[in-house]
Subunit: 194 residues, 2 copies
DNA sequence: TGACAAAAAATGAATGTTCATTCTTTTTTA
DNA sequence: TAAAAAAGAATGAACATTCATTTTTTGTCA
């Protein structure tokens, strides 16, 4: 197993370097040579693990996205009430975006630019299904507004990305209090007002 | 004035080409030669109007941002009630994002990547002041939740960018009905619940 | 166990291309 | 006709990818 172990370490180092460099400079301003240097590897070695630069970024995206959704739904279970389930998932997502800031920033950049193949993007979206199902249930129970998934996502989840980017720029600090306020805003935007 | 007129046309053509190409390919995948070709100009001519590529993009950003905020606040006046003022501004912004889709996409891309100088970004933010003032007034009157401006922006305005990008990708069509629903979500996320 | 050859992995240097920017010449304007 | 504007071609740097070698690993047999 020694060989395989070693390979995985290098691959991980490459993925990690890609995330860090793309976060700070963007896709096209990140040369393969720098990725190689940061991963302590020769540029040529990258091509043993990835087809080319596009493939490296696509694979990185898919991996990080999978990590993200795994974390988001890890403690969720479908027997929960809609409101409790939503709060749980929302707070896990918020948690991820604050703790795994680098990873989350990378996803945000991928989601907002033409950096990723459409195919890889589609793959990344699939994992959100449990949240979409929760919303469907909430609509049936009359707890959640009867809105399109895109609208629900835009108001309930997407603002977290904006807050994370703003925080990264240093303009603003997202602490415990703000987080609870943000949650309340998210919930009020999608719940049915009694 | 003939000379100046001609110059302004060329400058505008360059700015327009920049927006279109950067929208579709991103900053670094947009060569000066293509911008020149799309504007029917020699590459060398760009340097008569702009210092370099970074300057071209910075100036384009600042111009589009100014256009955007001008449109947003054109019909607003400070004597309006908080709720009416917010609805008006929100709908103007939504309108801009749908009608001037190219311009709005360009701003979204600039706001989400390290493509623009920090200085130019700061310049762009200033113009939002009337909205921030409206929110301050709303908080004083107990109509708007006592949240940080960043939180208010994240829930009241930013979701429109997400919806615009999603629409551009073709996954979803933002029609009149959706727009009204989106407005209601925005307003419920920031208003004080009675 | 240890030595060694075949295979795999890794490397640094080369290759060819793309691109921002500049230079020299031509065209347009006044 | 002098000055300004524009052009196309040239320059040099940066980069993704490949190539020819070197290093490391693996499996085999004494």
């Amino acid at each position: 197993m020694a060989k395989l172990q070693k390979s995985i370490d290098k691959r991980n180092a490459l993925v990690k370097a890609t995330i860090e460099l793309v976060n700070n400079n963007g896709f096209h301003a990140t040369p393969m040579s720098k990725i190689a240097k940061m991963a302590n590897v020769s540029p040529a070695t990258i091509y043993l693990y990835f087809e080319n630069k596009q493939d490296l970024v696509n694979q990185t995206y898919i991996e990080v996205k999978a990590e993200y959704t795994k974390y988001a739904f890890e403690t969720y279970d479908e027997s929960m009430s809609v409101e409790a389930g939503f709060e749980l998932i929302w707070k896990r997502i918020a948690d991820f975006k604050l703790k795994e800031c680098e990873n989350a920033m990378f996803l945000a950049q991928c989601d907002n630019t033409p950096m990723i193949d459409e195919l890889s993007r589609q793959q990344g979206i699939k994992h959100l299904q449990p949240l979409l199902d929760l919303w469907t249930r909430g609509k049936e129970e009359g707890i959640i507004k009867p809105l399109s998934e895109y609208l629900l996502y835009a108001y309930a989840i997407n603002p977290l990305s904006f807050l994370m980017i703003t925080q990264k720029r240093g303009a603003f600090q997202l602490d415990k209090t703000h987080l609870e306020e943000a949650y309340q805003s998210a919930w009020s935007s999608i719940k049915v007002c009694k």
